[in-house]
């Protein structure tokens, strides 16, 4: 039987964001936007959802005078990501 896929992670953009954050200590909004090729609006919405789920943590600050939103994955996020990868394997093999 196929395991249920976490709908929060089974989304192209959110998965890309999580994939990046799983690899780096932290990444800011602009970097995520460039790496994923997404629009600001879409990225903003998806970051919110990941934050509400507790999968990532967001810190708002400034780089000089310019606002800067920094994201990092949480332990819960790491665990969810790993579970998702395991679940997905059942579909791909």
């Amino acid at each position: 039987m196929f395991p249920k896929l976490d709908p929060l992670l089974h989304s192209e953009l959110r998965l890309a964001v999580m994939s990046i954050l799983a690899d780096v200590e932290s990444a800011d909004f602009t970097y995520l936007k460039k790496q994923t090729g997404s629009t600001s609006g879409n990225l903003s919405v998806q970051i919110d959802k990941l934050t509400s789920a507790g999968y990532i943590a967001v810190e708002k600050g400034f780089k000089g005078k310019i606002p800067c939103t920094t994201c990092r994955i949480t332990p819960a996020g790491t665990e969810a990501f790993n579970s998702y990868v395991e679940a997905l394997k059942e579909y791909l093999k």
Copy 2:
């Protein structure tokens, strides 16, 4: 950069169906329904989409007097599935 994920395959139920059909010669509606645990309505809709995309072929016949819808993957479907798996790996590693 993250490759685009085929939206037709990036769907839990459609992916499960394709995953099954990639493994067997053919499978009928009832079998797919049992294996995926989906509702008839949802399965019917998703089979239609995969058919329209040319990823699977559907044959409608009878098993005795009872109608029986048989599905099998097409070469285009196999290729799309393989590409999807490759693309997804970029997100999971």
